[in-house]
Symmetry: C2
Subunit: 601 residues, 2 copies
């Protein structure tokens, strides 16, 4: 076996799982965000894939394999070519010898939709659910954390085609069950959370988060188990605002109060009595951009993803790809918009009326949005649209004109009351997203003309769903969730081997004989076993066994004098002396009991 462990942490690895997989010889870096899966890792990936396969097949899904090279034309048909190659730029593209543009598939909605368009003709062929387990490519801005955010990674992606919403909902729920089974069977602690749909599009969407401190995602949830959402998507009730002491509407000089804290301190009021006005520039996927003013209660923050989604709704032909908050005093960024920049820190919610006149004659111009937390306020404090001045005791209407678009773009926060039950407060956890299921609806089928004839003989666009599991990411997430100072602690179901036989002294003929016999018997009986018969000190071999994280270590040491071997559980460190004749049956029983426990959870 190609086996080499490293004593020291590799310099470029940041999180524990990345360090451990490198040190224990599971992976090797070949390029930025690109790794070789060595034999031990490949076994883990195969085990994860097999669990995925079994659960997908059980849900009636059919396995296939779609091309990684995708003609650009397909992406132009769906309207995503520019978004993926330019605006976000996360898709690798290349030109072939005939100068034809090709994409390296980060996802396969376009390819599967063109197949559906070709092959699905009638409702009698529906529903269809297809999946593949495949290497995907993303030209990440910042590849990091090993397999967590790589440029080349293994995904299971599935796509469903349904006649109507009800059928789609059914498939979506089937996938929800399958995904829960996959994670449970893999031995992972996880949470399924409501999620934003992002660039994939569509309506309902849920993420499956493996809980781990190093997770890139924040999850908000309630302890009653009734609510969990990605922070990007989470909703909550804001804390109550304090009643305002300002009953008269007047303009006040408030020098040097560009921040909420400073205004509150100066005016001796609560930030819940303020309407703050935040200026954004948003860039749409067709290249045009718009200035956006968002008014929100002073103690609350804008959720950029929600804002992006609201802006996309307002300009339904285009997607808002980025929102950039313009910071104080970002006069330069504003200069391209208007000759006289807005007084950041002192902007009024209804600024635009006079400001718009000074806006240069460029495309769509200026949008005013107000969050619900702000519309609910009375006698509030807000900017006077003049540097160094605020108004107090203001009310929406004549005093301050209400912005034209009322939206909910507030960021939910830990400690907020839950919407489903105000007695519950939101808690925060870190998670690693390993699965994501989407109801896409007709976004791709309409764009690409994938239709079917329904029972009434009418031609209808197919309803679609898509469902992804990050296979390589899941494998690393398992390590991130389960390790100790000595190394990896694999869940039994996805460990590369169930057991490792460590021979303390290979010059002892009896040790060798017992070890080799057990090795053959265990593998024969389906207990996947490694044999460490290297000419190394026992201590080195014990350390390596701990580092690579095999669930059960069998030591053919002193106990063999009594016809026994020592079996150590990696996770609990519990040591058992087991009669040599019972080792196979005992291990088989342990493994089966762990696996069936996870299945039935």
């Amino acid at each position: 076996m190609l086996f080499l462990t490293l004593r020291d942490d590799p310099a470029d690895a940041e999180i524990p799982s990345h360090k451990l997989l490198l040190r224990a010889g599971y992976i090797r870096r070949i390029g930025s965000g690109v790794y070789a899966y060595l034999p031990l890792m490949w076994r883990v990936l195969q085990k994860v894939s097999q669990i995925v396969r079994e659960e997908m097949n059980a849900a009636g899904a059919q396995e296939c394999l779609l091309p990684q090279l995708q003609p650009a034309d397909l992406w132009k048909e769906s309207g995503r070519w520019d978004t993926y190659t330019k605006a976000e730029g996360i898709m690798f593209a290349l030109k072939d010898r005939r100068d034809q543009e090709q994409a390296l598939g980060p996802t396969h909605e376009e390819v599967i939709t063109t197949i559906a368009r070709d092959m699905i003709r009638s409702y009698r062929q529906l529903p269809q659910l297809l999946y593949q387990i495949q290497t995907k490519f993303r030209d990440e801005i910042r590849p990091r954390f090993g397999l967590m955010r790589g440029r080349e990674f293994i995904m299971k992606d599935a796509y469903s085609f349904n006649v109507d919403e009800e059928s789609l909902e059914k498939t979506y729920q089937d996938m929800h069950i399958a995904y829960s089974n996959i994670l449970r069977r893999s031995g992972l602690a996880f949470r399924d959370v409501q999620a934003d749909s992002g660039a994939i599009g569509g309506s309902a969407s849920q993420e499956f988060m493996v809980l781990a401190e190093a997770g890139e995602d924040e999850v908000l949830y309630t302890k009653d188990g009734q609510y969990a959402a990605n922070v990007e998507k989470a909703v909550s009730l804001p804390p109550d605002a304090q009643p305002s002491a300002f009953t008269n509407y007047e303009k006040r000089e408030t020098p040097g109060t560009e921040t909420i804290e400073k205004v509150c301190e100066f005016l001796k009021c609560s930030s819940t009595q303020l309407v703050k006005n935040v200026l954004y520039e948003t860039i749409f996927d067709n290249g045009t951009s718009v200035l956006v003013l968002v008014s929100i209660r002073g103690d609350q923050e804008v959720n950029d993803v929600k804002l992006q989604n609201e802006l996309t709704k307002l300009a339904p032909k285009y997607d808002a790809k980025t929102v950039i908050k313009l910071a104080v005093p970002d006069t330069e960024a504003q200069a391209k918009w208007a000759s006289k920049p807005l007084p950041l820190g002192y902007i009024a919610p209804d600024v635009a009326d006079d400001y718009i006149k000074s806006v240069k004659n460029i495309a769509p111009g200026f949008l005013r949005l107000v969050d619900k937390t702000a519309t609910d306020l009375k006698n509030f404090v807000t900017g006077a649209n003049e540097s160094g001045y605020h108004v107090v005791g203001a009310n929406w209407g004549e005093q301050v004109k209400l912005p034209e678009f009322a939206v909910d773009v507030r960021k939910a926060r830990p400690g907020d009351r839950a919407k489903h039950n105000p007695e519950q407060t939101l808690e925060s956890a870190r998670g690693i997203e390993v699965g994501h299921i989407f109801q896409l609806g007709t976004k791709y089928s309409i764009a690409m003309g994938a239709t079917f004839t329904n029972e009434q003989g009418e031609e209808k666009p197919l309803l679609m769903g898509c469902y992804g599991v990050g296979v390589s990411r899941l494998a690393q997430a398992a390590v991130e969730q389960s390790y100790d100072k000595d190394g990896i602690i694999w869940p039994v179901a996805i460990a590369p081997y169930h057991a490792i036989i460590t021979i303390p002294n290979i010059n002892d003929a009896q040790q060798m004989e017992i070890a080799e016999k057990l090795y053959a018997q265990l593998n024969q009986a389906g207990v996947e076993t490694l044999l460490d018969d290297r000419n190394e000190r026992a201590g080195v071999k014990f350390k390596d066994a701990d580092l690579i994280g095999i669930p059960y270590r069998i030591v053919t040491g002193r106990a063999i004098a009594n016809g026994k071997v020592e079996v150590v559980e990696r996770k609990s460190r519990k040591s058992h002396e087991i009669a040599i004749a019972d080792v196979v049956s005992t291990l088989n029983q342990w493994i089966q009991s762990v696996n069936s426990e996870q299945r039935s959870q």
Copy 2:
């Protein structure tokens, strides 16, 4: 199941297997040389992969997965970047968002060698044999024949690292056995042949050819089974030359005799008495090119691959990437070389001495090669280096100066006598190359500095071998070898399903009940079975079953009145009436007997 068969042959498919896979719904074209593997095809590919995996594991190989994205630097280290991206241009390359060049792996010598360099330190870790089953990319000049010559295809590639030639030879032989087993178990008629090593480099190399009329390769073999080689590599004894009637050396006027036939007719001599002189331009991978004159007996042809190899040997720093035969009267191509072009059709073997003076002052100039068939001749006829003139009765020496490089570049032909036994003559067959094994030696380990410490404590370059199976090509080759007018006839071992149950009339409750029961029982017992319960006429369903080529068709038709079903063997068309209670055991027995027959062949 996503299932759709087509009545008509697709327009763009040229060979039977390509047409059948498209018509039967196994594959769909997504782009030039790029196909989606639909669920039926994916099952075939999985079966082939599983056989490959079992045989590789049995040979002690370890599975891994290497990246498809490969940094250009690795290819520059091995010296193949220019060859693969420019001279041959068969590698897709792209630039990432940081403007770094990346290759899309057509093969993995560079990646595996960099891993070996990193992880293999001592002879105690050797030998190592690693493999992967993976999608590869080649920007083919002319993608065609479906999966036969695609731009994206599935390969099993393996790489070995050995301490010495003897160990490498052992691994090479192990792989030879494994490959023979793979093809036998897949149910294919094949031949292993000696092969040229091509751009991969190295010494010994053998190809595994699936025999089929549409094969792109020609194989020459003897009926005694002692010899088989790819035509590019094949050797043989040329037919004996006829003794020359020209005993006096003289120059003759031979107007209008640019071709061998015309000279022979004009001079009333045999083509075996002639030395013909063929002019080539060869381009090396560093961009320089050379004019090459090859003298060979008049009835023989030059083998371009052998010529290329000889030229590479003569210029060991560079590879001769192309040889272009300059045709009569290609004065234009010659014009870039010399002010006065050579008289094609009348060139003399020793032309260069005066010609070289007129060659323009450009790089390496001119090479003269002579094949053994020519050096053996006496009193021969050859060109006089003057348009319209030949010499007769010539001999090497003072009359005609022998070219400086004697080589064997003759093309072996069917009908030639075999070298190992002149009683045997070479026969010709067409084949599809599905496997190729190479002894690479130290080409990559020296270029990339992959060394180990041997038992004597010396640092040595690793000896390498590489071993490839075209998994997707093998699957299509099976169809090319086994079909009839009605469709595909899959070998049992790699058929997507073993059996298909066709219900002639789905409105007959008894037929449905028996079919569904059998379907469940068969699958339970490991007989992979499809159920065709579509609302179609029986004839349509029978046709589809034949087209997709499932080995056994079970029909729940009239015979059920007697407690029986009809079972039809796809290959032989034999029909059996089998008691319903015996169907599972009978099919299981048939399948096992076919599979074990193939294993033990």
